[in-house]
Subunit: 113 residues, 2 copies
DNA sequence: CCCGGTCATAGACATATGTCAATATGGATG
DNA sequence: CATCCATATTGACATATGTCTATGACCGGG
């Protein structure tokens, strides 16, 4: 399953109707955000020094097993919200701000339609 | 299940760590967005004349049964993304732009951390 | 080269979710 | 009141999802 690039050039929800294909791609991303653990993971990565956190940092923040965290990280990677990089024994995760910004733009509804 | 007001005053993901309670509430909203049909429903409502659409308009746009659409509308109502109003025989749905804006703000990550 | 530490993958299982058919509700109209 | 239309609710069912245990893969240090 390849990461999504579909987020590019998505107009705000209002301007033009979402076709079924775009809706399916976007839904995958929002579904990834639709879990409290994954939201907290994003928050941890975002607020961590240097804009990155290693898996061990993240795992320590939860009462969940390491494979469970690994699973959530994979979900966030697959939809393009996180990237990762190995340095020595550790794997560091970072946000992909462009893709978050695309989602933000999509939900940015003009006050009056 | 009461609609969420928790979206108020959520700081961007970066600034402060999401605690478990906030994460759970936010996850409910993103989970509601994590379905292609519901995304298209929002798009239909948003782009419809007057900023509202009746259930019949929405149902016509899909190859799904009316109860299924009704179910999705309920999900979107329960997380505070849609409101509805009965006028005569028809029920009209509208966006709740404030809550969409809150989500948008949450995902609006500063380019450099 | 083996070993300990870090992370990922595989498989199993209980629960959540999307869909449908059937039915209920509630307003409008004759 | 009887009936039709628009919408909601219920219950059933197949699939998706989150979690765990067990195990594999990869790296660095003795």
């Amino acid at each position: 399953m390849e990461p999504l690039q579909i987020l590019d050039c998505s107009p705000p929800l209002v301007r033009e109707q979402l076709d079924a294909d775009k809706a399916a791609d976007l839904a995958r991303v929002f579904k990834a955000l639709g879990d409290p653990v994954r939201l907290r993971i994003l928050s941890i990565v975002a607020s961590h020094a240097g804009g990155e956190a290693c898996v061990c940092d993240i795992t320590d923040a939860f009462d969940l097993t390491q494979p469970t965290i690994s699973h959530h990280l994979k979900v966030l990677r697959e939809v393009g919200l996180l990237t990762h990089e190995r340095r020595g024994s550790w794997v560091y995760y970072q946000l992909v701000p462009e893709n978050l910004a695309q989602l933000s733009a999509l939900l940015d509804i003009p006050a009056t339609v």
